[in-house]
């Protein structure tokens, strides 16, 4: 493979500063275009720690993350996060309608030059089996599953290269889980150079949604394919 890796982690570690407990042991990891990776493991094993470090939401204690072979400067971080999108287990919606929530990212400085596109959003809603009148619903009235669908569409409309999914369906009913999976499959089908990492404790889902299966245990990532 001569592809440039999308993200590369070198000897990434993270310590719990207060209790002096290692959360992530030195980890090397490469994400290539087209990779669909799943990471499974018990809760507290460090899956989320690793994913949040890749999203640059938590600072690693040591080690380095490269994006297209380059280290990432502070000023570039918001830009990075638009391309390498992290989705948490608990969707956070703002007050207002579904549409207000979907328009929100375009009010941020990094995406200000881009425009909210109703056609893209309607197509995405269709993948999740939602009619366009869903846009008018109040965010406060949505179920957990519907909130996660909105949160995912809010991210997907920005056209990220990589999705970092932190157990996005862990708290959802089976129907909503399938809608979320359908959305992600459709996003994947849109461009073969996209990649994602799916953290899950559901082995069936991990097998269904990925072709590279990794395990995390006590801060150690295993099953990493050797280059």
């Amino acid at each position: 493979m001569t592809d440039t890796p999308l993200i590369e982690a070198r000897a990434l570690t993270r310590m719990d500063e207060r209790r002096q407990v290692p959360l992530l042991q030195p980890t090397d990891f490469t994400l290539q275009p087209g990779d669909r990776v799943s990471i499974t493991g018990a809760s507290g094993s460090g899956k989320s720690v690793f994913l949040r470090a890749l999203a640059l939401l938590d600072a690693p204690t040591s080690g380095q993350i490269l994006w297209n072979n380059q280290p990432i400067g502070n000023a570039q971080i918001p830009h990075y996060r638009c391309h390498i999108s992290y989705l948490s287990q608990r969707p956070a919606l703002l007050e207002g309608s579904v549409e207000d929530n979907l328009r929100f990212p375009f009010s941020l400085k990094t995406s200000r030059k881009r425009r909210f596109d109703l056609v893209t959003v309607t197509t995405l809603l269709g993948h999740a089996g939602k009619a366009p009148d869903f846009l008018a619903k109040r965010a406060a009235d949505l179920s957990g599953g519907e909130s996660q669908v909105v949160s995912l569409i809010r991210t997907l409309q920005l056209n990220p290269e990589v999705l970092l999914l932190d157990e996005p369906t862990a708290a959802l009913d089976p129907t909503s889980s399938r809608e979320v999976e359908a959305l992600i499959d459709a996003w994947f089908a849109g461009d073969p150079s996209r990649a994602c990492i799916w953290v899950s404790h559901d082995l069936d889902q991990a097998r269904r949604m990925s072709d590279i299966h990794l395990q995390m245990s006590a801060g150690v990532l295993s099953g990493v394919p050797q280059p």
Binding site: D58, K109, L158
Partner: protein, 263 residues
Amino acid sequence: MNYQNLTALDMGIAASLILINGALSLLLRLGLGRQLLWAAVRTVVQLLAIGYLLGWVFEFAYWYVVLPLMCAMTLIAGLSAAGRGRRTYRGQRADSILSVWGSSWLVTAVGLFAVIRIHPWYEPQYAIPILGMILGNTLTGVSLGIERMTQELTSGRNTIEMILALGGSRWEAAQEAIRQAVRAGMIPTLNQMTVVGIVSLPGMMTGQVLAGESPEDAVRYQIVIMFLIAASSALGTVGAVLLTYRRLFSSSHRFLRDRLVER
């Protein structure tokens, strides 16, 4: 000056009114007896002490007497502003002292040099009570601001991380919390300003009137003081909230939520 002097007996009669509070506490089983007693003792002791101290300072009106006293007052105000709220972070005390100090001294300087224009500036009869009134209100603003900020950051954590994950800057992520916190810190002063003269007659003005000053003159001083207080508590609140923001958001646009700890 012509007014009624108060004797120890007079004060005793007033102090016995605390028995009303005590009786209520017993009747309603509020369990406040001990705190009431302690508060009453502190009121008497602290005020007597400051009375003697001020009497002494007024006699020795030198800058090297007045200035340390002003510093001590400011330091205590800053420390007590830091002592509130369920959550704290490393450096909160320093942030609180810095914002109380900066805002109150700046505004007091404007009051002493530009508005009242007394010579020398450290004339204790002016400098100390004016700084004191400003400090009292600034510390409320600062402590409410920091308390609200840490509370908003804790309850809004998911939203903050969502904004960061969507490519928002640390400023965009913190904006809503900052706005709420500054508002919370400024509201007590605003409330006070809207009812002053109608519902409440401020202590300073009342004092001047009791001491024989004409109400019109007393009111002028009170107006000046209200604006000084408003300016200082606003500056102090904004300062404290922004310092909190700087501690809890890194330049790499990360929310350092681990730094927020329960007391």
